[in-house]
Point group: C2
Chain length 216, copies 2
């Protein structure tokens, strides 16, 4: 289906476009210009036109992009024109928080199973999902055709859980544990480590001198 | 201090380098090659040499990089050679999960205050922090010289919280609410929206046909 490989940076922006386009569609807005998209998403309009040109030439000069068509196209490109099932391993605070986001995952992606190694957690209800023992991972992944795994266990357990997910046939992993995982080349791994986000923010702070003198 | 502007992509990789270098330092490894770094971090060694060359020429041919020196240098570049205080707004599951990560934030960055708008949450202890009423935000930010804010409230409250953080004098925001925020140009905003990470993972899945036929 895919005509050419799209850069990772563009792939990461597509869900952001999709969210805003869904918002527009909900408000019954039918066309949008690259200027509007750029303003809302804090991107250069030229960058947006370049990103969207990857998928064929949708935009019409002076009219803009057809919202419904762009939504359909981006969903296709992201493989979201099919139902994609997700498993979450680690039913702690973070796992519970993430399973709440199911509401936002309207685009045919859904967390359908939650696992934990602790007997205390197994059997508990998180939203509408019952926490399953980690031993059931393989069978459940097969039964529900689960293709993506989310890791929300402590760092020292993360590699073992990754191995278990891969053994179970998972194709892609989103890792929230603050550690670097090794996975085979055919498994796609994204790190969602918030400490990295936070530490990189510090770069954009001033040198602190103004802030300190404000105190006097 | 900064000689030239470093690209956002490089800034985002620096904390990843830093984590691995800290690991090496802990294990008393004193030098590392770009090959080793590349293998561990799943990056091209040439890319690593290019990234690190931004900060002067540390590497010595055949010996590699001095771990301690590289740590010091990256911390300087990221402004982590000073204590940076962080406030978290939203003491739900996600907020609680993130405050646990304080353990990992060894690099002079620390969540020092947690806020919530709900009377039920105020006064509760999360790790060693007592949840404060959102009305105290301004005074606490000033008192502890807090410079970064983390938003972990529901999407419909996120913009209001962002405005409150900015009024309080925050310089940078990490937003976990799945919505697009507007902030003034002088405030740095990173979106840590995990639904975007998750949806973009779908792009890297196969077309699902193999997975489906496996079931038969």
């Amino acid at each position: 289906m895919k005509s050419e490989k799209i850069s990772d940076a563009v792939v990461r922006r597509l869900p952001v476009y999709l969210r805003f386009l869904n918002e527009l569609s909900f408000r019954e807005v039918s066309t949008v210009s690259s200027q509007e998209l750029g303003q809302k998403l804090d991107l250069n309009p030229a960058q947006i036109r370049k990103d969207l040109a990857y998928f064929g030439d949708f935009g019409r000069k002076g009219i803009g992009y057809d919202v419904a068509y762009l939504i359909e196209k981006i969903r296709q490109i992201l493989n979201l024109d099919q139902q994609i099932n997700v498993a979450l391993v680690g039913a702690g605070n973070l796992g519970q928080a993430l399973s709440n986001y199911n509401t936002y995952l309207k685009d045919n992606m859904k967390i359908v199973a939650v696992f934990d190694a602790s007997e205390k957690k197994v059997g508990q209800k998180i939203n509408s999902l019952t926490v399953q023992p980690i031993e059931d991972l393989g069978a459940t992944v097969k039964r529900f055709n689960i293709r993506i795994g989310i890791i929300t266990v402590p760092d020292f357990e993360a590699q073992r859980v990754a191995d278990q997910l891969i053994d179970a046939g998972i194709e892609a992993i989103l890792n929230f544990a603050p550690t670097i995982l090794k996975v085979p080349a055919e498994v796609r791994l994204h790190a969602a480590d918030f400490t990295t986000d936070l530490l990189s923010l510090a770069y954009y702070l001033g040198d602190g001198k103004e802030a300190l003198t404000n105190e006097s």
